[in-house]
Protein backbone atom coordinates (compact mmCIF):
# COMPACT_ATOMS: atom_id res chain seq x y z
CA UNK A 1 0.00 0.00 0.00
CA UNK A 2 1.61 3.20 -1.09
CA UNK A 3 0.81 6.82 -0.50
CA UNK A 4 2.73 8.97 -2.90
CA UNK A 5 3.85 12.54 -2.57
CA UNK A 6 6.82 14.03 -4.35
CA UNK A 7 9.45 13.53 -1.71
CA UNK A 8 7.59 11.89 1.14
CA UNK A 9 5.84 8.60 1.11
CA UNK A 10 4.89 5.71 3.29
CA UNK A 11 5.35 2.09 2.32
CA UNK A 12 3.28 -0.38 4.27
CA UNK A 13 3.33 -4.05 3.43
CA UNK A 14 1.07 -5.97 5.74
CA UNK A 15 2.29 -9.36 4.67
CA UNK A 16 5.71 -9.96 3.22
CA UNK A 17 4.69 -12.77 0.94
CA UNK A 18 8.02 -13.12 -0.78
CA UNK A 19 9.98 -14.20 2.24
CA UNK A 20 9.24 -17.10 4.49
CA UNK A 21 8.15 -16.28 7.96
CA UNK A 22 5.40 -13.86 8.55
CA UNK A 23 6.15 -10.23 8.83
CA UNK A 24 4.87 -6.80 8.01
CA UNK A 25 6.98 -3.85 6.99
CA UNK A 26 6.46 -0.14 7.42
CA UNK A 27 8.78 2.40 5.81
CA UNK A 28 8.24 6.12 6.12
CA UNK A 29 10.14 8.44 3.81
CA UNK A 30 10.25 12.16 4.48
CA UNK A 31 11.86 14.63 2.16
CA UNK A 32 13.60 11.92 0.24
CA UNK A 33 15.13 10.29 3.32
CA UNK A 34 14.06 7.24 5.22
CA UNK A 35 12.56 8.52 8.39
CA UNK A 36 11.27 5.37 10.03
CA UNK A 37 11.41 1.66 9.40
CA UNK A 38 9.46 -0.94 11.32
CA UNK A 39 9.58 -4.63 10.79
CA UNK A 40 6.95 -6.55 12.64
CA UNK A 41 7.30 -10.30 12.88
CA UNK A 42 3.91 -11.61 13.77
CA UNK A 43 4.66 -15.23 13.09
CA UNK A 44 3.56 -16.93 16.29
CA UNK A 45 6.41 -18.37 18.34
CA UNK A 46 6.60 -22.16 18.43
CA UNK A 47 9.45 -22.71 20.91
CA UNK A 48 11.46 -25.44 19.19
CA UNK A 49 14.53 -24.59 21.24
CA UNK A 50 12.55 -25.12 24.41
CA UNK A 51 10.81 -28.38 23.67
CA UNK A 52 13.84 -30.02 22.10
CA UNK A 53 15.37 -30.16 25.55
CA UNK A 54 15.15 -33.62 27.01
CA UNK A 55 14.57 -35.37 23.69
CA UNK A 56 16.74 -38.27 22.64
CA UNK A 57 19.62 -37.50 20.29
CA UNK A 58 17.81 -39.48 17.61
CA UNK A 59 14.80 -37.19 17.55
CA UNK A 60 15.85 -33.65 16.54
CA UNK A 61 16.03 -34.29 12.77
CA UNK A 62 12.38 -35.33 12.66
CA UNK A 63 11.34 -32.50 14.95
CA UNK A 64 13.37 -29.64 13.50
CA UNK A 65 12.06 -30.44 10.04
CA UNK A 66 8.77 -28.98 11.28
CA UNK A 67 10.34 -25.55 11.68
CA UNK A 68 9.69 -25.03 8.00
CA UNK A 69 7.79 -27.10 5.51
CA UNK A 70 9.42 -25.34 2.59
CA UNK A 71 12.98 -26.10 3.64
CA UNK A 72 12.67 -29.07 6.02
CA UNK A 73 15.84 -30.68 4.71
CA UNK A 74 17.91 -27.69 5.75
CA UNK A 75 16.68 -28.03 9.31
CA UNK A 76 17.00 -31.79 9.35
CA UNK A 77 20.54 -31.60 8.07
CA UNK A 78 21.44 -28.91 10.56
CA UNK A 79 20.17 -31.11 13.34
CA UNK A 80 22.00 -34.13 11.95
CA UNK A 81 25.23 -32.20 11.68
CA UNK A 82 24.86 -30.81 15.18
CA UNK A 83 24.36 -34.28 16.60
CA UNK A 84 27.20 -35.70 14.59
CA UNK A 85 29.47 -32.88 15.70
CA UNK A 86 28.53 -33.55 19.28
CA UNK A 87 29.30 -37.23 18.80
CA UNK A 88 32.47 -36.56 16.85
CA UNK A 89 31.22 -38.34 13.78
CA UNK A 90 32.03 -37.44 10.21
CA UNK A 91 29.93 -38.79 7.41
CA UNK A 92 31.30 -39.24 3.94
CA UNK A 93 30.99 -41.42 0.92
CA UNK A 94 27.63 -42.50 -0.44
CA UNK A 95 25.71 -41.31 2.61
CA UNK A 96 27.10 -37.81 2.27
CA UNK A 97 26.32 -37.86 -1.44
CA UNK A 98 22.76 -38.89 -0.70
CA UNK A 99 22.40 -36.06 1.77
CA UNK A 100 23.66 -33.63 -0.82
CA UNK A 101 21.19 -34.99 -3.34
CA UNK A 102 18.42 -34.55 -0.81
CA UNK A 103 19.55 -30.98 -0.30
CA UNK A 104 19.77 -30.34 -4.04
CA UNK A 105 16.24 -31.57 -4.43
CA UNK A 106 15.05 -29.07 -1.88
CA UNK A 107 17.01 -26.27 -3.51
CA UNK A 108 15.60 -27.04 -6.92
CA UNK A 109 12.07 -27.18 -5.58
CA UNK A 110 12.41 -24.05 -3.52
CA UNK A 111 14.13 -21.99 -6.19
CA UNK A 112 11.64 -23.01 -8.84
CA UNK A 113 8.87 -22.02 -6.45
CA UNK A 114 10.36 -18.61 -5.90
CA UNK A 115 11.43 -17.84 -9.44
CA UNK A 116 8.36 -19.08 -11.27
CA UNK A 117 5.57 -18.77 -8.79
CA UNK A 118 6.51 -15.71 -6.76
CA UNK A 119 9.05 -13.48 -8.49
CA UNK A 120 8.07 -13.91 -12.10
CA UNK A 121 4.48 -12.76 -11.55
CA UNK A 122 5.82 -9.76 -9.60
CA UNK A 123 8.24 -8.73 -12.31
CA UNK A 124 5.74 -9.32 -15.09
CA UNK A 125 2.86 -7.60 -13.35
CA UNK A 126 0.59 -10.56 -12.60
CA UNK A 127 -1.32 -11.17 -9.42
CA UNK A 128 -0.09 -14.72 -9.15
CA UNK A 129 1.46 -17.56 -11.05
CA UNK A 130 -2.01 -18.77 -11.85
CA UNK A 131 -2.84 -15.47 -13.49
CA UNK A 132 0.50 -15.65 -15.27
CA UNK A 133 -0.38 -19.10 -16.55
CA UNK A 134 -3.41 -17.70 -18.34
CA UNK A 135 -1.09 -15.79 -20.68
CA UNK A 136 2.11 -17.81 -20.47
CA UNK A 137 1.08 -21.34 -19.66
CA UNK A 138 4.16 -23.11 -21.10
CA UNK A 139 6.47 -21.02 -18.91
CA UNK A 140 4.52 -21.78 -15.77
CA UNK A 141 4.36 -25.43 -16.75
CA UNK A 142 8.11 -25.45 -17.16
CA UNK A 143 8.47 -23.98 -13.71
CA UNK A 144 6.14 -26.58 -12.29
CA UNK A 145 8.09 -29.33 -14.03
CA UNK A 146 11.33 -28.04 -12.54
CA UNK A 147 9.72 -27.83 -9.15
CA UNK A 148 8.42 -31.35 -9.49
CA UNK A 149 11.90 -32.59 -10.37
CA UNK A 150 13.21 -31.16 -7.12
CA UNK A 151 10.35 -32.67 -5.19
CA UNK A 152 10.82 -36.04 -6.88
CA UNK A 153 14.42 -36.05 -5.77
CA UNK A 154 13.44 -35.41 -2.16
CA UNK A 155 10.67 -37.97 -2.48
CA UNK A 156 12.93 -40.70 -3.82
CA UNK A 157 15.59 -40.21 -1.18
CA UNK A 158 13.47 -39.07 1.72
CA UNK A 159 10.17 -40.78 1.14
CA UNK A 160 8.10 -37.65 0.70
CA UNK A 161 8.54 -34.09 -0.44
CA UNK A 162 7.64 -32.34 2.80
CA UNK A 163 9.17 -33.55 6.08
CA UNK A 164 11.05 -36.46 4.54
CA UNK A 165 12.35 -39.16 6.86
CA UNK A 166 15.68 -39.93 5.20
CA UNK A 167 14.33 -43.22 4.06
CA UNK A 168 17.01 -44.02 1.56
CA UNK A 169 16.70 -47.76 1.86
CA UNK A 170 14.81 -48.07 -1.35
CA UNK A 171 17.82 -46.66 -3.13
CA UNK A 172 20.30 -48.76 -1.34
CA UNK A 173 18.36 -51.95 -1.86
CA UNK A 174 17.11 -51.90 -5.42
CA UNK A 175 15.66 -55.38 -5.06
CA UNK A 176 13.13 -54.12 -2.59
CA UNK A 177 11.27 -52.33 -5.31
CA UNK A 178 11.07 -55.28 -7.57
CA UNK A 179 9.59 -57.20 -4.70
CA UNK A 180 6.60 -54.97 -4.99
CA UNK A 181 6.06 -55.88 -8.62
CA UNK A 182 3.36 -58.35 -7.78
CA UNK A 183 1.87 -56.03 -5.25
CA UNK A 184 1.23 -52.68 -6.82
CA UNK A 185 0.77 -49.81 -4.42
CA UNK A 186 -2.30 -47.71 -5.02
CA UNK A 187 -2.25 -45.87 -8.24
CA UNK A 188 -2.66 -42.12 -8.37
CA UNK A 189 -6.21 -40.80 -8.56
CA UNK A 190 -7.82 -40.38 -11.94
CA UNK A 191 -6.73 -37.24 -13.66
CA UNK A 192 -3.53 -37.16 -11.68
Amino acid sequence: MTHRSPASRTLEVKALARVEGEGAMFVEIRDGAVHDVQLRIYEPPRFFEAFLRGRSYTEPPDITARICGICPVAYQMSAVQAIEAACGITVDGALRDLRLLLYFGEWIESHALHVYMLHAPDFLGYESAIALAADHRPIVERGLALKKTGNDLVDVIGGRAVHPRQCARRWLLPGADQARAAAPVREPPAGA
Partner: protein
Protein backbone atom coordinates in the same frame (compact mmCIF):
# COMPACT_ATOMS: atom_id res chain seq x y z
CA UNK B 1 -10.35 -14.09 -12.43
CA UNK B 2 -13.77 -15.48 -13.21
CA UNK B 3 -16.08 -15.52 -10.26
CA UNK B 4 -18.55 -18.27 -11.01
CA UNK B 5 -16.02 -20.83 -9.88
CA UNK B 6 -16.03 -21.65 -6.19
CA UNK B 7 -13.56 -19.49 -4.34
CA UNK B 8 -10.91 -21.19 -2.28
CA UNK B 9 -8.84 -19.57 0.42
CA UNK B 10 -5.80 -20.92 2.23
CA UNK B 11 -5.12 -19.63 5.72
CA UNK B 12 -2.10 -20.01 7.92
CA UNK B 13 -1.91 -19.97 11.68
CA UNK B 14 0.97 -21.33 13.78
CA UNK B 15 2.61 -23.84 11.46
CA UNK B 16 5.49 -24.56 9.14
CA UNK B 17 3.80 -23.87 5.76
CA UNK B 18 4.38 -27.47 4.72
CA UNK B 19 0.71 -28.38 4.34
CA UNK B 20 -0.18 -25.41 2.21
CA UNK B 21 2.99 -26.01 0.24
CA UNK B 22 1.53 -29.42 -0.48
CA UNK B 23 -1.07 -27.66 -2.60
CA UNK B 24 1.68 -25.99 -4.62
CA UNK B 25 3.46 -29.32 -4.70
CA UNK B 26 0.58 -30.76 -6.70
CA UNK B 27 2.51 -29.71 -9.77
CA UNK B 28 0.56 -31.99 -12.06
CA UNK B 29 -2.80 -30.85 -10.79
CA UNK B 30 -2.19 -27.25 -9.78
CA UNK B 31 -3.25 -25.56 -13.00
CA UNK B 32 -6.16 -27.95 -13.28
CA UNK B 33 -7.21 -27.03 -9.76
CA UNK B 34 -6.84 -23.37 -10.67
CA UNK B 35 -9.10 -24.03 -13.64
CA UNK B 36 -11.86 -25.38 -11.43
CA UNK B 37 -11.68 -23.05 -8.46
CA UNK B 38 -10.89 -19.40 -7.93
CA UNK B 39 -7.91 -19.31 -5.61
CA UNK B 40 -8.92 -16.20 -3.77
CA UNK B 41 -6.60 -15.97 -0.81
CA UNK B 42 -3.31 -17.79 -0.66
CA UNK B 43 -0.46 -15.83 0.79
CA UNK B 44 2.12 -18.47 0.03
CA UNK B 45 1.22 -18.30 -3.65
CA UNK B 46 1.30 -14.52 -3.60
CA UNK B 47 -2.44 -13.98 -3.41
CA UNK B 48 -2.90 -11.55 -0.60
CA UNK B 49 -6.15 -9.73 -1.07
CA UNK B 50 -9.03 -10.84 1.09
CA UNK B 51 -12.35 -10.58 -0.66
CA UNK B 52 -15.66 -11.32 0.87
CA UNK B 53 -16.52 -14.92 1.46
CA UNK B 54 -15.12 -18.24 0.40
CA UNK B 55 -16.70 -21.46 -0.67
CA UNK B 56 -13.83 -23.47 0.74
CA UNK B 57 -11.22 -22.50 3.27
CA UNK B 58 -8.19 -24.66 3.86
CA UNK B 59 -6.79 -23.83 7.26
CA UNK B 60 -3.24 -24.65 8.27
CA UNK B 61 -1.81 -24.13 11.71
CA UNK B 62 -2.90 -24.06 15.31
CA UNK B 63 -4.17 -21.26 17.51
CA UNK B 64 -1.42 -19.90 19.72
CA UNK B 65 -2.10 -16.17 19.95
CA UNK B 66 -5.06 -14.06 20.96
CA UNK B 67 -4.99 -12.43 17.51
CA UNK B 68 -5.23 -15.79 15.82
CA UNK B 69 -8.06 -16.83 18.12
CA UNK B 70 -9.95 -13.82 16.80
CA UNK B 71 -8.88 -14.31 13.20
CA UNK B 72 -10.11 -17.90 13.03
CA UNK B 73 -13.58 -16.67 13.96
CA UNK B 74 -13.48 -14.32 10.97
CA UNK B 75 -12.25 -17.07 8.72
CA UNK B 76 -15.06 -19.33 9.84
CA UNK B 77 -17.65 -16.65 9.23
CA UNK B 78 -16.29 -15.99 5.77
CA UNK B 79 -16.19 -19.66 4.81
CA UNK B 80 -18.96 -21.96 3.68
CA UNK B 81 -16.80 -25.06 4.13
CA UNK B 82 -13.79 -25.13 6.40
CA UNK B 83 -11.23 -27.88 6.11
CA UNK B 84 -8.25 -28.04 8.41
CA UNK B 85 -5.05 -29.27 6.82
CA UNK B 86 -2.42 -30.97 8.87
CA UNK B 87 -1.50 -31.90 12.39
CA UNK B 88 -1.18 -28.31 13.64
CA UNK B 89 -4.69 -27.35 12.62
CA UNK B 90 -6.14 -30.69 13.63
CA UNK B 91 -4.28 -31.44 16.85
CA UNK B 92 -2.22 -28.40 17.79
CA UNK B 93 0.99 -29.55 16.11
CA UNK B 94 4.47 -29.94 17.55
CA UNK B 95 4.07 -26.54 19.19
CA UNK B 96 1.41 -28.06 21.42
CA UNK B 97 4.27 -29.57 23.42
CA UNK B 98 4.03 -26.31 25.36
CA UNK B 99 0.70 -27.55 26.64
CA UNK B 100 2.56 -30.03 28.81
CA UNK B 101 4.84 -27.32 30.22
CA UNK B 102 4.93 -23.69 31.30
CA UNK B 103 4.89 -21.33 28.36
CA UNK B 104 6.59 -18.55 30.34
CA UNK B 105 9.56 -20.79 30.89
CA UNK B 106 9.60 -21.66 27.18
CA UNK B 107 9.47 -17.98 26.28
CA UNK B 108 12.35 -17.07 28.54
CA UNK B 109 14.48 -19.92 27.21
CA UNK B 110 14.06 -19.03 23.58
CA UNK B 111 13.84 -15.26 23.42
CA UNK B 112 16.24 -12.60 24.61
CA UNK B 113 13.32 -10.25 25.06
CA UNK B 114 10.39 -12.45 25.98
CA UNK B 115 8.33 -9.35 26.71
CA UNK B 116 8.02 -8.72 22.96
CA UNK B 117 6.65 -12.18 22.29
CA UNK B 118 2.94 -12.59 22.42
CA UNK B 119 1.58 -16.06 22.85
CA UNK B 120 -1.10 -18.08 24.53
CA UNK B 121 -0.29 -20.73 27.07
CA UNK B 122 -1.56 -23.47 24.78
CA UNK B 123 -1.50 -24.44 21.16
CA UNK B 124 -4.96 -25.69 20.26
CA UNK B 125 -6.56 -27.19 17.18
CA UNK B 126 -8.94 -25.19 15.04
CA UNK B 127 -11.82 -27.38 16.16
CA UNK B 128 -11.34 -26.07 19.71
CA UNK B 129 -12.39 -22.66 18.40
CA UNK B 130 -14.79 -23.05 15.50
CA UNK B 131 -16.83 -25.69 13.74
CA UNK B 132 -14.71 -27.69 11.32
CA UNK B 133 -16.26 -29.51 8.37
CA UNK B 134 -13.40 -31.86 7.65
CA UNK B 135 -9.98 -32.53 9.12
CA UNK B 136 -7.15 -33.63 6.86
CA UNK B 137 -4.56 -35.42 8.92
CA UNK B 138 -0.84 -35.60 8.61
CA UNK B 139 2.40 -33.78 9.25
CA UNK B 140 2.40 -32.96 6.43
CA UNK B 141 -0.87 -33.83 4.72
CA UNK B 142 -0.88 -36.18 1.77
CA UNK B 143 -0.95 -34.65 -1.67
CA UNK B 144 -3.34 -37.36 -2.85
CA UNK B 145 -5.75 -36.69 0.02
CA UNK B 146 -5.64 -32.96 -0.62
CA UNK B 147 -6.46 -33.37 -4.31
CA UNK B 148 -9.11 -35.92 -3.38
CA UNK B 149 -10.66 -33.48 -0.91
CA UNK B 150 -10.73 -30.63 -3.41
CA UNK B 151 -12.16 -32.95 -6.05
CA UNK B 152 -14.78 -34.23 -3.64
CA UNK B 153 -15.64 -30.68 -2.62
CA UNK B 154 -16.06 -29.65 -6.25
CA UNK B 155 -18.41 -32.49 -7.02
CA UNK B 156 -20.30 -32.60 -3.76
CA UNK B 157 -19.21 -36.01 -2.65
CA UNK B 158 -17.66 -37.35 0.51
CA UNK B 159 -13.89 -37.58 0.19
CA UNK B 160 -12.52 -41.09 0.35
CA UNK B 161 -10.50 -40.67 3.50
CA UNK B 162 -10.47 -43.60 5.82
CA UNK B 163 -9.83 -43.41 9.53
CA UNK B 164 -8.37 -46.89 9.70
CA UNK B 165 -4.87 -47.53 10.98
CA UNK B 166 -1.49 -47.38 9.31
CA UNK B 167 -1.39 -51.18 9.70
CA UNK B 168 -4.12 -51.35 7.05
CA UNK B 169 -1.98 -49.45 4.60
CA UNK B 170 1.07 -51.54 5.48
CA UNK B 171 -0.83 -54.71 4.68
CA UNK B 172 -2.31 -53.17 1.57
CA UNK B 173 1.13 -52.12 0.39
CA UNK B 174 2.67 -55.49 1.20
CA UNK B 175 5.08 -54.20 3.82
CA UNK B 176 6.43 -56.66 6.31
CA UNK B 177 5.46 -55.52 9.80
CA UNK B 178 8.48 -53.84 11.35
CA UNK B 179 7.34 -54.62 14.86
CA UNK B 180 6.49 -58.27 14.41
CA UNK B 181 9.37 -59.16 12.11
CA UNK B 182 11.95 -56.71 13.39
CA UNK B 183 11.06 -55.70 16.90
CA UNK B 184 10.96 -52.06 15.81
CA UNK B 185 8.59 -49.94 17.90
CA UNK B 186 5.83 -48.57 15.70
CA UNK B 187 2.80 -46.38 16.31
CA UNK B 188 1.12 -47.79 13.21
CA UNK B 189 -1.57 -49.75 15.08
CA UNK B 190 -3.04 -46.58 16.60
CA UNK B 191 -2.18 -44.08 13.88
CA UNK B 192 -4.57 -42.76 11.26
CA UNK B 193 -3.90 -43.95 7.74
CA UNK B 194 -3.19 -41.63 4.83
CA UNK B 195 0.59 -41.74 4.40
CA UNK B 196 0.39 -45.10 2.61
CA UNK B 197 2.56 -46.55 5.35
CA UNK B 198 5.54 -44.49 4.35
CA UNK B 199 7.89 -45.15 7.24
CA UNK B 200 7.33 -48.89 7.64
CA UNK B 201 7.85 -49.23 3.90
CA UNK B 202 11.37 -48.02 4.60
CA UNK B 203 11.80 -50.12 7.70
CA UNK B 204 11.17 -47.36 10.18
CA UNK B 205 8.51 -47.47 12.81
CA UNK B 206 5.56 -45.17 12.29
CA UNK B 207 6.00 -42.02 14.38
CA UNK B 208 2.35 -41.09 14.40
CA UNK B 209 2.42 -38.02 12.16
CA UNK B 210 -1.21 -38.61 11.10
CA UNK B 211 -2.48 -38.67 14.67
CA UNK B 212 -4.86 -41.21 16.18
CA UNK B 213 -6.96 -43.52 14.00
CA UNK B 214 -10.77 -43.64 14.32
CA UNK B 215 -10.57 -46.51 16.76
CA UNK B 216 -7.48 -46.84 18.89
CA UNK B 217 -6.31 -48.71 21.91
CA UNK B 218 -3.27 -46.72 22.95
CA UNK B 219 -3.08 -48.25 26.45
CA UNK B 220 -2.65 -51.68 24.89
CA UNK B 221 0.04 -50.41 22.56
CA UNK B 222 1.84 -48.91 25.55
CA UNK B 223 1.90 -52.37 27.11
CA UNK B 224 3.39 -53.77 23.92
CA UNK B 225 6.01 -51.03 23.69
CA UNK B 226 7.07 -51.82 27.24
CA UNK B 227 7.25 -55.51 26.43
CA UNK B 228 9.45 -54.58 23.50
CA UNK B 229 11.84 -52.95 25.89
CA UNK B 230 10.91 -49.28 25.70
CA UNK B 231 11.29 -47.25 28.85
CA UNK B 232 8.35 -45.15 29.98
CA UNK B 233 10.23 -41.94 29.19
CA UNK B 234 10.72 -43.09 25.65
CA UNK B 235 7.08 -44.05 25.34
CA UNK B 236 5.99 -40.63 26.52
CA UNK B 237 8.23 -38.96 23.98
CA UNK B 238 7.17 -41.15 21.09
CA UNK B 239 3.55 -40.24 21.82
CA UNK B 240 4.46 -36.57 22.14
CA UNK B 241 5.44 -35.30 18.76
CA UNK B 242 3.30 -33.68 16.10
CA UNK B 243 -0.02 -34.94 17.42
CA UNK B 244 0.89 -34.88 21.10
CA UNK B 245 -2.29 -33.04 21.99
CA UNK B 246 -4.69 -35.27 20.06
CA UNK B 247 -6.96 -36.88 22.65
CA UNK B 248 -5.90 -40.50 22.35
CA UNK B 249 -2.19 -39.76 22.21
CA UNK B 250 -2.39 -37.17 24.98
CA UNK B 251 -4.36 -39.41 27.32
CA UNK B 252 -1.94 -42.26 26.76
CA UNK B 253 1.20 -40.17 27.26
CA UNK B 254 -0.22 -38.55 30.37
CA UNK B 255 -1.13 -41.94 31.79
CA UNK B 256 2.39 -43.22 31.20
CA UNK B 257 3.96 -40.02 32.52
CA UNK B 258 1.85 -40.36 35.65
CA UNK B 259 3.15 -43.88 36.08
CA UNK B 260 -0.25 -45.40 35.48
CA UNK B 261 -0.88 -48.68 33.82
CA UNK B 262 2.49 -50.02 34.88
CA UNK B 263 2.59 -53.77 35.02
Amino acid sequence: MSTDKPSVAVWKFASCDGCQLTLLDCEDELLEVAGEVALAYFLEAGLTSVRGSYALSLVEGSITTADDARRIQEVRQASRTLVTIGACATAGGIQALRNFSEVDEFRSIVYAHPEFVETLGTSTPISAHVRVDLELRGCPISKAQLVETISAFLHGRRPNISGRSVCSECKERGNVCVTVAGGTPCLGPITHAGCEALCPAYHRGCYGCYGPADTTNAPSLVVRLREGGMADDDIVRVLRTFNAYADDFRDASEAVAAGKGAE
